[in-house]
Symmetry: D3
Subunit: 67 residues, 6 copies
């Protein structure tokens, strides 16, 4: 334990996921008292029309992306 | 808050997901007292052989679909 | 299908959850083409120190709540 | 009820998922008292760089796979 | 891998959860090719007013339970 | 985005959750390119008989804890 599910937009590289998995595991060990071998991290990657905040899909927010 | 995960069969259009995300956010605000800006909705889309009810995969139920 | 998990702060009444479950099911049927009998909605309720946005727990944001 | 989400590496066949969905449903009925018709099982399949244990991605563990 | 989340009504005993965890792990090993040591199973238990199917909370379905 | 669910044994303090939420958000921003304001982290805390690895509940593993 613990089991961590990260739901995020697709497009992250393997290197980004490698770093995030390692660092998040470290956080759970250092601040949560977890056994490092037992930490599971999964990334569930979804397209931009499958994630909404404030009732608006991400794909719709990006039509005029801020600089 | 809240965070909503909807696991469903793939095949919905962006327009369908746009409407569902908007309306579900409205429900959480109107009936759940949520702050609209804080509502997150994600769609996790799976193929027909990755969803089962009653112990039977959806792809197996559709071999003789009812009219 | 679909299966919906709503992670939210504890404190909603049964009546609020009753309305949300009904209306969200209706949305999935009307806009997502779901079979109403097959829609599952679960509420996972967590305390104010188990939900964070922007890296800050909800319990810490409420110390000076806006009017 | 219950609703079961299985997050696993992609690559399982339909036949494997068919067997797992059926047997897991049976377990929930026999040992958990579930109504079989109400059991939902979903498989969320992720690539080898989206699953980590012990802080290490599965894709990195397989570079020198044990015989 | 895999990671399994079972969302179910509260009220199962430790013995029931013990059996389910063991048997579901066996299924994933036998039919899914999982490494047994790597299988994680979690039970997320919710009250009867936090689980709905067909848009109706379980607590409302049980008012006139069938014999 | 992203939305993070951490399923873990109950017993963490608010201070532990505060630190984990902050640091995990930082990781997602620094290594995942996330917008910090949009990161949601939830902790789903379960008792020792609701979490199993290797088919064995945590409560059963702790009967003779290693020094």
């Amino acid at each position: 334990m613990p089991a961590v599910q990260i739901t995020l937009l697709e497009g992250r590289t393997t290197e980004q996921k490698r770093k995030m998995a390692k660092r998040i595991t470290d956080v759970l060990v250092e601040d949560g008292g977890a056994n490092p071998a037992a930490v599971v991290v999964t990334f569930v990657e979804v397209p931009r029309d499958s994630y909404a905040s404030g009732g608006v899909l991400i794909c719709d927010k990006q039509q005029n992306p801020p600089k």
